[in-house]
């Protein structure tokens, strides 16, 4: 049994909550007491029927306003897979929350209301999926019951969306006509959609291959912590603890430590307290080196024949996430994996309209803006291009005074 993390983007109007409710309900992940609790609340509302959105809207403010504000994580499993859903709000004022949910997703479900087709929100969600480089996209064309399960309606939407996917370079797009309300094509294939040749949504989620999304060719090992027991029997022990974020490490590998550039060889590897010959992404491990070199948290151990880029000038697509505006020339802390350095946003090249992809000039950025910037760092950053290796190309910006995370950087 493996693991799939996916994000559902959309609003109550698209049937997002109904869809999640349906997946949880049909996979028997909602318990009786939880259903009773939402039934009790639903009765307080005017509609009179069970409101599945109450399952996902966890905060009082969300229930009061009937909207999703923050990302909620939901869990269900089938005999084949464990699923983690990042349930993100769809409105433009919560773009930063969607970006947050998208950052760890293997797959995005983009909901389209069959009556409305591809709309501004569809484009925005697709643009975010593409910016965050989510490997797989499912376009769930929902509310098919309201268009008489029409194949023509479905086909036209597929044609429209294919344009969007092409312009964004989305790699793996799958289209599924569904009715979340009636469960059509959610768990079982629906006879009302017999013209559709693909599988049901759940079946697809269970079978989409995600193992291949893990990069096993470019070894990157950010050092998080140095283990030095300093006891009598382990008095020379010095282990570099971290997680293999990509690639494979074997004993005997020639390695380079960045940014220092020191080189050595892997003497031994520990995984879960045992000595092993190799470790691979995304395992956590302890590496031991042949030579005594200065390595501390924030350094990255890579293989000498496969080096990342190393620079102090970064081209970055930045999603601004703070209520205070971004001011060019201001200093921020930049954190990429375990490395933390001071940095300055030097200039804004352009602002990206997340509904249309249009680029406009800008001198500042406010909450939810996506901009292209140049960032200079106080010391060199070993990184990979985000589009090639998400694990070593994503960084956050931290306000030095408030300590708040203010930006998400996709390094180009």
């Amino acid at each position: 049994m493996d693991l799939l993390r996916f994000i559902t983007a959309g609003s109550v109007d698209d049937g997002k909550s109904t869809l999640i409710g349906r997946l949880l309900y049909d996979s028997k992940s909602i318990m009786i007491d939880q259903l009773e609790a939402i039934e009790k609340q639903s009765k307080n509302k005017e509609q009179g029927e069970i409101d599945l959105a109450l399952l996902t809207d966890g905060l009082r403010a969300e229930r009061e306003q009937g909207i999703t504000i923050d990302v909620a994580y939901k869990y269900f499993s089938t005999p084949k897979r464990k699923f983690i859903i990042a349930d993100a709000p769809g409105h433009i004022q919560y773009t930063r929350n969607m970006v947050t949910g998208a950052s760890t997703a293997d797959l995005a479900i983009i909901l389209i209301d069959a009556r409305n087709g591809v709309v501004e929100q569809t484009r925005r969600h697709s643009i975010i999926a593409s910016l965050l480089n989510i490997p797989h996209v499912v376009v769930a064309i929902n509310k098919m019951d309201l268009v008489d399960y029409s194949q023509d309606v479905y086909n036209n939407i597929v044609i429209d969306y294919a344009e969007v996917a092409k312009s964004l370079g989305l790699k793996d797009v799958t289209y599924i006509p569904i009715s979340a309300m009636f469960g059509d094509n959610i768990v079982e294939k629906s006879p009302k959609l017999s013209w559709y040749e693909g599988t049901s949504l759940l079946n697809f989620l269970e079978s989409v291959e995600v193992d291949k999304d893990i990069n096993l060719t470019d070894p990157r090992f950010p050092v998080q912590y140095v283990i030095r027991p300093q006891t009598e029997e382990l008095h020379d022990y010095r282990g570099y603890a971290g997680k293999v974020i990509s690639g494979i490490y074997r004993t005997g590998d020639a390695i380079t430590v960045l940014p220092s550039g020191h080189t050595s060889t892997i003497k031994s590897i520990e995984h879960n307290g045992k000595e092993v010959e190799e470790v691979f992404a995304p395992q956590s491990a302890i590496l031991h080196l042949e030579d005594d070199i200065d390595i501390s948290r924030g350094d990255i151990i890579v293989k000498s024949d496969n080096l990342p880029k190393l620079t102090q000038e970064l081209d970055v697509v930045l999603c601004w996430m703070d209520n205070k505006p971004l001011v060019t020339g201001n200093k921020y802390l930049l954190q990429i994996n375990s490395r933390l350095v001071r940095s300055v946003v030097k200039e804004i090249e352009y602002k990206l309209d997340v509904n249309t992809l249009q680029k406009t000039d800008a001198t500042s950025a406010t909450l939810n803006d996506v901009i292209k910037v140049k960032i200079k760092t106080a010391s060199p950053i070993p990184y990979d291009s985000y589009s090639e290796l998400r694990e070593n190309g994503g960084a956050i910006l931290i306000d030095e005074t408030s300590h708040v995370t203010v930006g998400a950087c996709m390094i180009q």
Binding site: G58, L59, Y75, S103, G273
Partner: protein, 302 residues
């Protein structure tokens, strides 16, 4: 499956180890909040994997309400001794005396809410800047919204509207003096994941998790253990039943479930078949209001 495929438990385990090491790397004075329950026992196992052969870079801290199951306390002391790790215990009883707090009244007078005072005092006493806890997002819907690194202000308060965005696997642990961070390494685990992990790792648990005979009363469908901490009414009938605990909290606010499950396999089959959530079945304190957990967390609760 290729030889480079990982089981979902391996993914969850590696994620949790990574979080533990981020705590060790980012904070000066962390602590692991240990309750003697299965979730914090799982945390200890993960900490062993993250830091052995080194010592834990934090003590185990237990906030003892005085209403704990003796089996859980015994387990706690034994575990700290076997591991050779430091255990700090602070008692709610002492806080009540020192601060003249008012004990809740009623049949199941629970010190659950009073724990927060002792916890905040303990954080202040030791200047803890990060407290690692075993909360999971599947437990409750306010928890489902909480970050893995969750910042609390100097009053220990959680502000759900002002949470930091948490992207990729990058955790921002920077805080101002006086603030602290609650860290939840098993956020993404479900109850069943924890049990499957306990089975896989052959982790020992306190005996109350397994079926045993106990004197209980039936309170609105929930079975509550007879103990010195609850007041029996004349109408209460003391029953002798085969029960086990699905969660381990205070004797006053944790209900038992009828069960013959005497080993982990049986427990896993039972949980797989159950139709009631963990909190719904076993927590007497959560049904009070829809936002009970959100309110407690805002006030500094775990």
């Amino acid at each position: 499956m290729s030889k480079y495929s990982l089981d979902y438990l391996d993914h969850l385990e590696s994620e949790a180890i990574h979080i533990f090491r981020e705590v060790a790397g980012q904070f000066e004075r962390p602590a692991l909040l240990f309750s003697g329950g299965k979730d914090s026992i799982t945390l200890v196992q993960l900490a062993l994997k993250a830091f052995r052969p080194g010592k834990f870079p934090f003590p185990l801290v237990h906030i003892d309400t005085g209403h704990n199951f003796p089996e859980a306390l015994e387990y706690r002391d034994q575990l700290a001794k076997t591991l050779g790790e430091k255990l700090i215990v602070r008692n709610v009883e002492d806080t009540i005396k020192a601060k003249h707090l008012t004990e809740p009244k009623g049949k199941f007078a629970s010190r659950n809410a009073l724990q927060t005072y002792t916890l905040l005092d303990t954080i202040e006493e030791f200047k803890f800047d990060a407290c690692i806890g075993g909360a999971r997002r599947d437990e409750e819907k306010a928890r489902a919204k909480e970050r893995i690194f969750s910042v609390r202000d100097e009053f220990g308060q959680w502000d759900p509207k002002l949470q930091r965005p948490e992207l990729w696997n990058t955790y921002n642990g920077r805080i101002t003096k006086g603030e602290n961070v609650r860290v939840f390494p098993i956020s993404n685990w479900t109850e069943l994941d924890v049990w499957n992990y306990i089975r896989r790792e052959k982790i020992e648990l306190p005996s109350i998790y397994f079926s045993h005979e106990r004197e209980v009363i039936d309170h609105e469908g929930q079975l509550v253990a007879v103990s010195d901490f609850i007041k029996l009414d004349d109408t209460d009938k003391v029953l002798r039943k085969k029960v086990r605990y699905r969660t381990v909290g205070d004797m006053t606010c944790t209900a038992a479930v009828e069960s013959h499950a005497s080993n982990i396999d049986d427990i896993i089959s039972e949980i797989t078949a159950t139709k009631t959530s963990e909190r719904g079945e076993t927590r007497i304190d959560d049904k009070v209001s829809e936002a009970a957990m959100e309110d407690r967390k805002k006030n500094g609760y775990f």
